[in-house]
Every structure is written in structure tokens, then in C-alpha cells.
């Protein structure tokens, strides 16, 4: 079974996000990128399937700060083929349509049975990347998947719905699945194994085609959440804040 995992790097929220002077994008001067958390689950699920059924696993990523580390650590975990799209980077003005078209071109060449992708990202809560990719490569898409069983070229998936409902559905392969959670937590890989991969595994660098962002929305303005009129922000150090909360709870008759 050949599986492709297209991944996305997103801003690391450990650093505070600032809005650029233009008012329509993030200030990238202190921005660090990190692998989208749900993509780690897509990757783990790919490795679990590969271990169960054999075949190969490939990871595709656009270029960007920290991408090589992500790719080599994937190799150390068991991914066979590391594809880096060069010439464009995360953080460039690329919407999901553009990224889906770029990844789609590679996916078509690789002809996988399964494409596993993180169902959403903190900067893509709509989770549109997976469905767009499926559309561009002409494959079916199921999102919010938390379990995948493959038998005789057929795939049965568990799809999560709100309210704790889970659907079991059969999917014809090849297909794109938006993974919500892998069946096991993403594995740890020792640094010594990553360092070994850096010495022994090569990156397949491919020049990215001209990006096409057509079809996507445009951002008019970006702003930080505003305090609602009815909200009270409690200021002060820990002691003061704690004392005020106790007072408030008293006023509300809760203590």
C-alpha cells in the first residue's frame, strides 16, 4: 500500500503572534514554524498502515524554516520518500487552493492508494486543504477520520461527528482522508535516529510550479480578538487576581 502524507507547517504559537503593518497578514519577523499537530497524526496513521500492510510512505512539504528537520524526523520514524517543494515557502502568500494544486501535481505523479492529511490546522480551522486536494486529483474525500482499516484494496474508515457520533463507512481507493486522530499517539523518535537519517537519507527536492491561488477568498483585514462589552478583564499579579475572583464568586453567591 502506497501512502502519501502532504504536510503543512504552521506558525508556532509558543511565540506571541503579531499582525504585520499591512494589517492583512502576520508579522513574520519572530515567527517560527512547526508541523501542524494533526498532520503528525496523519503521519503516524500512515506509518501504522505501512507497518501492517507493507508498501511505502511518502511525505510532501513545501519549503520553509525547519522543514528539513520535519522531513528527516519522518524518515527516522519510517517514511521512505521525502519530497521537498522548493522555490516557494510557507509564509509566502499562498492560500489553500495554491497549496492544494502544488501538492496535487505531486500526488498525481506518485499514484498512491491513500493520501492522508491532517483534517485541519489552527490557521485552517475549516480544513479546506484536504477536500481541495481531493478535488484537484479527482479522488473521494472523507474528513474527521479516527480509524482506518484496509482489506483487499478496500478501506473502511471511522468518521467522527459532533455529539460523540461515529460513522463507519467504506471508501473506494484511491482516496484522500482527513485524519483527526491516529490510532496510536504520534511516536517518539530518538534524536540519534534523526541525526542518522540526516546522514543517510536524501531529500527529493522538486521545483514548485507557479502557484495558482485562484478560487480562494481574499483577506481584507486581520485583527486580534476584541474584548466584549460585557467582559471584565481582571488585571494584577496572581494574588490580586485570585482575591478578585474570590470576591466575584462571593458576589455571585457561588461561594
Amino acid at each position: 500500500m502506497n501512502i502519501v502524507v502532504p504536510v503543512k507547517l504552521v506558525p508556532d504559537l509558543v511565540e506571541d503572534l503579531e499582525i504585520d503593518e499591512s494589517g492583512i497578514t502576520l508579522d513574520t519577523s519572530w515567527l517560527r514554524l512547526i508541523l501542524n499537530e494533526v498532520d503528525e497524526h496523519a503521519l503516524e496513521q500512515a506509518l501504522l498502515l505501512k507497518e501492517a500492510h507493507g508498501g511505502t510512505a511518502s511525505v510532501i512539504s513545501l519549503d520553509g524554516e525547519g522543514v528539513d528537520d520535519v522531513l528527516f524526523s519522518s524518515a527516522a520514524k519510517g517514511v521512505d520518500h521525502l519530497i521537498k517543494l522548493t522555490g516557494l515557502e510557507f509564509g509566502d502568500d499562498l492560500n489553500n487552493h495554491a497549496v492544494a494544486r502544488l501538492y496535487g501535481a505531486i500526488v498525481e505523479r506518485l499514484e498512491p492508494e491513500l493520501v492522508l492529511i491532517g483534517v485541519q490546522a489552527h490557521n485552517d480551522l475549516d480544513g479546506s486543504l484536504g477536500p481541495l486536494l481531493a478535488e484537484y486529483v479527482g479522488m473521494p474525500y472523507v474528513g474527521y477520520v479516527s480509524g482506518i482499516t484496509v482489506t483487499d484494496g478496500k478501506c473502511r474508515v471511522l468518521k467522527e461527528y459532533p455529539g460523540g457520533l461515529i460513522a463507519e463507512m467504506d471508501v473506494v481507493l484511491p482516496a484522500v482522508l482527513g485524519v483527526q486522530a491516529a490510532e496510536a499517539p504520534p511516536r517518539y523518535v530518538a534524536i540519534s535516529r534523526i541525526r542518522q537519517a540526516m546522514k543517510t537519507v536524501s531529500l527529493d527536492e522538486q521545483a514548485a510550479a507557479d502557484p495558482d491561488s485562484g478560487g480562494g477568498p481574499t483577506i481584507d483585514s486581520m485583527f486580534k480578538p476584541e474584548t466584549g462589552e460585557r467582559a471584565t478583564m481582571i488585571a494584577g499579579d496572581e494574588e490580586e487576581v485570585a482575591a478578585k475572583i474570590v470576591d466575584l464568586l462571593g458576589e455571585l453567591g457561588k461561594v
Binding site: P185, Y188, A190, I191, R195
Partner: protein, 408 residues
């Protein structure tokens, strides 16, 4: 070093490779002299809960069945506290060799608790186990007067490079102790500087949790930063950093004179004594940290500093000096609280707090940044410990200095 994961019940190849790797550790051949007295397992604070405590690990290895040890997760109860190595009549390097090597195999096999995984990934990505933004590493010093010199900014040589460390830089209580130590160094007129955002975790606890590669990566990063600056010696807040710099970094070609701050301040004792005017009327018990005490034989200097504080009455707990009990934070323990609680349903820090209460201590004095949060949390759960105050030695000294300023 073997890297195989173990599938078969009796993997003799793995067993033999593991056994040979132990003999590569300094004094490692002593493991052949193990007489199965089980003193190690008896003194181990978690030994009674382990499927394979140290002496049984050795007997399993001798029987060619070490992969059975690898199949159990109770190895993660080990706090790398050196109690086993200390008591071993055959002087086998149990902590450095057997326990650490076994954890390394667990890490290579990817068989580690999730909470530890988070700390290791944070250390790799952010250079600190807490997952804090590296850019904020010197924020604890913001607003202090005189300003704490950051070497990258002052662009001059200093006498002392103060290696602050993760918890002393980022943990709220560690930060307070760092501010106190800055006050003491300033009053002594020490010419010092810190690395600020350029500093990375010392990596020692990650190493003892079995992540040797991560330790080397962090050490190399620190080594490259040390090379950028001129200084006479390194001062550490954290005994784990002291241990790493003294005993582990030299093998990686990173070799500098290093002292723990308690050693450093003890050499300034005469000068300090003239400044410590304010009395602290309290019974104070001192907790020997494993990596100052058992691992490095430093017991007297912290006590000399405490004894110098006017009014302070130093008392000794039941387990003291060589027999001190770990706070529970060593060997990755800082990052395994949930796992440990599930397995053990008690905390070593609570045992220690009970011992402090038993000798009527008002203050539990510490000199390792892991210990303040651990003992303060324990004091909240141990009955009768509500009044127990946990203070870093640097805080007690700074308090006495401030008092002196007021009375003069």
C-alpha cells in the same frame, strides 16, 4: 550500541550487545562482580514497585533475558538518584551504567510515556523542557537593578559565566530564586554575565531519561555559545547543570572550570558574613540534592552558607547527606509526575516534607530549582505542612542581606 527492538522472547543477541555496552561505561566491568545482595533494590525509593529493580535487571541479563526488562515500563520509576550506586558493595556504576543504558534502549525503541515525550520534544525544539519561548529566557531579570548583564549585549569579558538553566529561568519560583541570587552576586561585587536567549538546557536530565542524542545536541549548542565569550569559570544554579558541565561535557570537548553556586558563595563566606546582618529566626532543614550530594560529594558548602545566616537554626532530617532521598524530579522525573502517580500513588517529595515536619522545621531549604515546586506542592498535600516554607538558599541569603540594609 544495539538499536534493535525486541520481538522474540529470548533475544540473546540484544542481551549480549546490551551487556557489552554496560562494560564500556567507566568502571562498567564491575557489573561482573554483582553478588545479588539486592542492596540496590532495597534502597531504591521506588524499588518495591518495580517489576525488575536493579539487582533483578542484572540477574535477567545474566540469564540472557534482558528483553523481558524492556517489556516493562517500571524502569520509568527510576529517578537516577544514585542511591543504588552509593550503596552497592561492588561499586557498580548502576545509575550511570545499567539504569541509564536501559532507558536509552527504551527511548530508541520509542517506548516512553507521553508526558516525557513532550518534555524531550520541547527540549529539542525550544532548548528548554518546559516548552517556553527561548526568546524569553532572560525575562526573569527584566527590571532588576543593577541590570543582569547579558553577554551578547555587553560585549566584554567577565569573570563568571552564570549558567542559569531551564527551571531557574522559566519556572515562577525558580525565577524568584534567580533574582535572589543576582542580588547576592551584585552585593558581593562579582563580575558576572548570563547567556540569556543563547542558553540552552544543560540536557543532563534528558540524558538520564535515556535521550543521549538530545543531550549531545544541547551540549554542542551550549558549547558553541561558550566559545563566543571570554570568562574565567562557569557558575550554575542547577546541580544537574553542574553535573553535566563537570562530568559529561568534557568528553564532548567542552571543558571549563565549573562550580555550583553554593560552592562559589562558600568561598566568599567571610565577605558574606559581614553583610548578613538580618536575623532569620527559624528552624531550617536542608535537603541535599542528589546531583550535588551523592553524585558529586558536595555536602558542606550549602550548610556553611545556611549556618552563616544570623538566627537560623540548622536541623538535619532523618535522611541526610549520603542518605538523602530524591525529591522525585531526577532522571526525567520532573516530566513523569502523572505516570509516577498512577504507578505509585505517593510522591517522594511528600516523604521529604514529612521528614522536615518530624524535625520541627519551619523552612525547608533547597539549592536545586527542581525542588521548590516539588516541595511546595507536597506541602499543600501533606497534613500539618501548611506552615512549611520552601526557600532556595539564595533566597534566604538575599533576605538576610536585605535585612542588613534596612538595619544599617
Amino acid at each position: 550500541m544495539t538499536t534493535s527492538t525486541v520481538d522474540t522472547p529470548e533475544d540473546f543477541e540484544f542481551n549480549d550487545a546490551f551487556r557489552l555496552s554496560l562494560e564500556e561505561v567507566e568502571q562498567g566491568r564491575r557489573i561482573r562482580a554483582c553478588l545479588q545482595c539486592a542492596a540496590c533494590s532495597g534502597i531504591c525509593p521506588f524499588g518495591f514497585l518495580m517489576d525488575f529493580p536493579p539487582h533483578k535487571m542484572i540477574s535477567a541479563m545474566r540469564a540472557g533475558m534482558f528483553e523481558r526488562v524492556m517489556g516493562m515500563d517500571s524502569l520509568w520509576l527510576c529517578v537516577s538518584c544514585y542511591a543504588c550506586a552509593q550503596v552497592c558493595p561492588a561499586q557498580i556504576p548502576l545509575t550511570e551504567g545499567l539504569m541509564t543504558r536501559a532507558k536509552e534502549e527504551m527511548v530508541l525503541a520509542g517506548n516512553i510515556p507521553v508526558e516525557l515525550q513532550d518534555a524531550l520534544e520541547n527540549s529539542q525544539r525550544y532548548g528548554n523542557a518546559l516548552g517556553e519561548p527561548p526568546r524569553r529566557r532572560a525575562d526573569w531579570a527584566a527590571g532588576l537593578e543593577p541590570a543582569v548583564p547579558i553577554l551578547g549585549k555587553i560585549k566584554r569579558s567577565v569573570d563568571v559565566l552564570w549558567f542559569v538553566g531551564d527551571y531557574a529561568s522559566f519556572h515562577p519560583r525558580g525565577r524568584q530564586a534567580s533574582q535572589a541570587l543576582a542580588t547576592v552576586l551584585n552585593r558581593l561585587g562579582v563580575d558576572y554575565g548570563i547567556l540569556g536567549p543563547e542558553e540552552n538546557s544543560d540536557g543532563d536530565s534528558q540524558r538520564l531519561a535515556g535521550e543521549r542524542g538530545l543531550f549531545e545536541m544541547l551540549a554542542e549548542k551550549n558549547g558553541r555559545v561558550f566559545e563566543k565569550y571570554e570568562f574565567q569559570e562557569i557558575l550554575t544554579t542547577d546541580p544537574h547543570a553542574f553535573n553535566a558541565l563537570k562530568n559529561e561535557y568534557p568528553a564532548l570537548g567542552i571543558s571549563y572550570p565549573v562550580r555550583h553556586y553554593s560552592q562559589f558563595l562558600a568561598t566568599h563566606l567571610e565577605q558574606l558574613q559581614t553583610m548578613l546582618g538580618g536575623a532569620i529566626s527559624a528552624r531550617v532543614a536542608f535537603h541535599d540534592p542528589c546531583y550535588l550530594g551523592r553524585a558529586n560529594g558536595i555536602y558542606d558548602e550549602p550548610r556553611q552558607l545556611l549556618a552563616a545566616v544570623p538566627g537560623l537554626e540548622l536541623v538535619e532530617m532523618l535522611h541526610t547527606r549520603e542518605t538523602s532521598i530524591c525529591c522525585g524530579g531526577g532522571g526525567g522525573g520532573m516530566w513523569l509526575d502523572g505516570f509516577r502517580w498512577e504507578k505509585a500513588r505517593f510522591r517522594l517529595s511528600e516523604v521529604r516534607v514529612q521528614e522536615a515536619l518530624a524535625v520541627g522545621a519551619d523552612i525547608l531549604a533547597v539549592t536545586c530549582p527542581y525542588e521548590m515546586p516539588r516541595f511546595e506542592d507536597a506541602a499543600k498535600t501533606v497534613e500539618g505542612a501548611e506552615h512549611l516554607v520552601v526557600k532556595d538558599i539564595a533566597e534566604l541569603l538575599a533576605d538576610a542581606l536585605v535585612e542588613a540594609e534596612v538595619s544599617s
